[in-house]
Amino acid sequence: MDMTTPPTKRDRDTRRIHLADTWDELGRVREALEEYFAETPEEFRAAATMAALELAENVIKHGEGSSAGSVTVSVRQGEVVISTQNQVASTQRAQFVRARIQEIADKGAREMYVKRMLELIEQPDAQGSGLGLFRIAYEGEFQLSCEILGDRLCISARRRLDDALPN
């Protein structure tokens, strides 16, 4: 914890969920997020749970190594951070994710979300929707960022919690 910024009463302990390489893990992620955000408004809880599930799906689909990876959630200074990390088979995948997050920042989440849907309509046999990150940014209103640390891909989704809570 940053020692110069004392925790606020709304700060929460960090919770980390290690993910095995099986789709059933998503049930654990959903339960953990719903419990973690139990005291927040339903709209915020649904958005945070959706963001964590979409990120966890990507970890399970694309993670490499002995375990798929992990999902971490925390609240610090009124900001919710949902992050994932996983080992990637190639830097190509990590670079692709980084480029996609940069596109969202440059062009806007809704524009990218709709553009990708239009591509899917034109390519009915396309494999993978590729909509998850756009959805987190547009529907969930989370700010996405990405770090590549060696063979590990770390994605963070951030959103202020303050606005969602009653005074």
Binding site: W23, A46, V114, A126, S129, L131, R135, Y138, E139
Partner: protein, 118 residues
Amino acid sequence: MTRYQTDQLTIESHKSRDKLVIRWLGRSEARDPGRALQPVLDAVGADVSGALSVEFDFRMLEYMNSSTIHPILKLVQSASASSSSVRVVYDRNKNWQRLSFMAMGAVLASLKNVEVSA
């Protein structure tokens, strides 16, 4: 009424006169919904062909992952090609539904016989 079930998702098909109502209930979060839902979507597609009007009702859908969006778009496209009018109904009080289906509405706007509304 015909009921199709897969994992935590139920799809009900109600036919009355020339109108077909396809109701989605529960959660759609398969790893590859395009594949997992294919038998159901084929069956629903068969129900849709021959119906003058089709309504897809998503108001009781609790959650869907982003991979479900592509099969939905394909299903609505298919219905649009075989029916004279298609309506997609969502719950505006569910924030995720409002945002998801408004975006889908923008994408489906080129199909003149498709209406997406709450």
